[in-house]
Amino acid sequence: MESMDFKTSQAGTLESMDCLVTVTGPSDVRIIEVSGGSASRFRTAIELKVNEVLDGMGCDAGVRVTVQDNGAFGVVLGARVEAAFARYRGGALS
């Protein structure tokens, strides 16, 4: 039976105006999950931001990205996604 090496990386916190981003993989496709108080109102904007950052970093592998949001601005969300994915990839940070 073939085994798969799953990896998980995180960046951010659950403090006010921050978010905790978790990247897990591999996954068949890119999956984005959003939770937190603002999830219902800003889900689309959060998903757009996550995709923008991952695309900008050349992410073409399937990963699951979980965002636990506690009121993070876009600039903070983007930074946390970048840090989490850079850690997941294990390469140099941009």
Binding site: S16, M17, V75, A83, A86, L93
Partner: protein, 292 residues
Amino acid sequence: MRRTMLYLPGNNPNMLLRGHLFEPDGLVIDLEDSVSAGEKDSARILVRDVLRGGEFGNCEVTVRINAADTDHWRNDVGAVVPCGVAGLRVPKVENPQMVRDIDEEISAVEARSAIEPGSVKIFCLLETAMGVWNAFDIAKASPRVTAILPGGEDLAADLRTSRSREGTELEWIRRMIIVAARAAGVDALDTVYPHVNDDEGLEREVGFIKQLGYDGKSVIHPNQIPVIHAVFNPTEKEIQTARRIVDAAAEAASRGLGAVSLDGRMIDAPVIRRARYTLMRAGLSTDLEMKG
């Protein structure tokens, strides 16, 4: 003016985005002690992005990078210098060569980023006895150096003592640094007052450093800002006196006189210079003319 420079933890979005609302004169975004070793990478990205897109009011924005004996400082410089910071606060500076190394790295990043050469300033934290001993040479090591300042906690450890509310252990350190700063033509900024609920002690300490000639103080809690500003701001009486001195000097100059008397006191160049400095502190003039 650099009366107050507020430290903001580099991995704390709440403080990074709101720090300027407390209206300090400057912000020191920290990538060093307030960021744990495992979070340096994440904090560096966050700080870079906040610098690119953040609002900082009228604050002078600087970043405290990691010390030159770590693996982090070059990455710090590479990340934040392209974002338009006014300066870098460099910890644990002990000798002029360390300043020259930082200068060289900043110059390389400025060149890559099409930033005006020399525009990013260096604030040197002197946190060891050796650093304080070399204060003048450090301040003169690069034209980028704009201020020197003691680092109270590390200095206390290096001196084999501890921080006291009276500041006895730092008294001569502060005197040495103000002399070195003035001789080198840079600002002297003071270390933080760590007792955030002791306004009386803070006011006493700020009064002391102001009398020594310091330009301002590092701040670790927003509540300390108004206390420090109140001490550094000239009183209404001081402002009125300064105005009269400057006006009298201007009138004397227009009549071709080198000196003038006001209220029975001779007004000469040092008195005029101090008066101008008072008006500058009050935000009523930017014309210091320190050579006058």
